[in-house]
Symmetry: C2
Subunit: 198 residues, 2 copies
């Protein structure tokens, strides 16, 4: 095989979810793209990896020291939604329903993987709540053993602010989910938190 | 959203089979990679796109004017296997069963997509057979309407060489395929070409 093809396939195969076959298909596809388009793509990857910053306020990915969400005066600065990772923030932004700020933890507490509270941006969150006029913290943490641990840890730390409202996103059956395939824990949650219809 | 993240997601989404969600996942993954590893990847893509050549003999992807397969004296230069694309050549090479040469057409004849015989490397193949001592041409063309058209066109062109053996790869039930899910045309082929067991 051509060494150039071999190299590009090896490199692309290192990405998650991309095996040798997909890498080959991507490489062959690139041959049909304009050389300048391919250069634009690789340039955007290099710039992203080397120039991206983390917002010093909320730990979101950002081009500057402060991200566009934290900078935006039209957003509700008294509400902070805590998420595990940037992808979660983007999913919530896509709904266009939330107008408050965010806080990206950068992971969840996991003794198994050696991730302790000090590895996450938890102190930064506590400082934000202490220094700014925050009325509500919404915990949008994943439902896993690690997620629950993180949730309880955060609740304990946040309880020092007596006037702060601490909420968690609702658990239940997802839109379009079939009960048959939903796990027992979720069904239990959904039953316990049932609401009366008017 | 960060402009740098936005740009990399837009660029990656242009690749086949990569939607915005996958592009986002890949971008986030790259943040966990060493900056140098990311640079190695983009560098290999750029080099591949800008430096790759096509073998002037068989039209395979190549680092040089002539590809390693055509250069290899230990291979059987009297047999040429004709394939639609480089990926097909690589699939056959992976079996390690074939020791002849190849010829990559670069597509199949498709009036619907405006691909005529002159758009493919067919004249190059005819010249090879005319000038070199080729004993057999194996047609490993896909089984589709376009594939069949190409097959018949090639057979007509190759018939000018009276001593040339022209063969096509066997059609039949694939290894591990369940008859229940195999299409009628393949089953018909497999029945017509049944062989006596010894």
């Amino acid at each position: 095989m051509s060494q150039l093809l071999h190299d590009v396939v090896s490199e692309l195969s290192k990405l998650p979810g991309i095996g040798r076959r997909t890498a080959m298909r991507l490489a062959i596809h690139m041959l049909r793209m304009e050389p300048d388009s391919v250069r634009d793509m690789t340039h955007s990857i290099d710039r992203f990896r080397h120039e991206i910053k983390y917002c010093t306020c909320c730990n979101n990915l950002s081009d500057d020291t402060i991200c566009p969400i934290c900078k935006n005066d039209e957003r509700d600065h008294s509400t902070i939604c805590v998420v595990e990772q940037v992808a979660d923030l983007l999913s919530i932004e896509n709904t266009r329903q939330y107008r408050g700020l965010y806080h990206v933890l950068g992971g969840v507490i996991s003794p198994m993987q050696g991730i302790s509270p000090s590895d996450l941006k938890i102190d930064l969150l506590i400082n934000r709540v202490a220094q700014q006029e925050v009325k509500e913290v919404i915990l949008a943490i994943p439902t896993s053993i690690e997620g629950e641990t993180t949730l309880f840890y955060l609740m304990n730390r946040l309880r020092q602010f007596p006037d702060l409202k601490i909420t968690a996103i609702a658990r239940g059956i997802g839109f379009g989910d079939e009960l048959e395939y939903v796990d027992e824990l979720t069904i239990t949650h959904a039953l316990l938190n049932r609401r009366e219809l008017e």
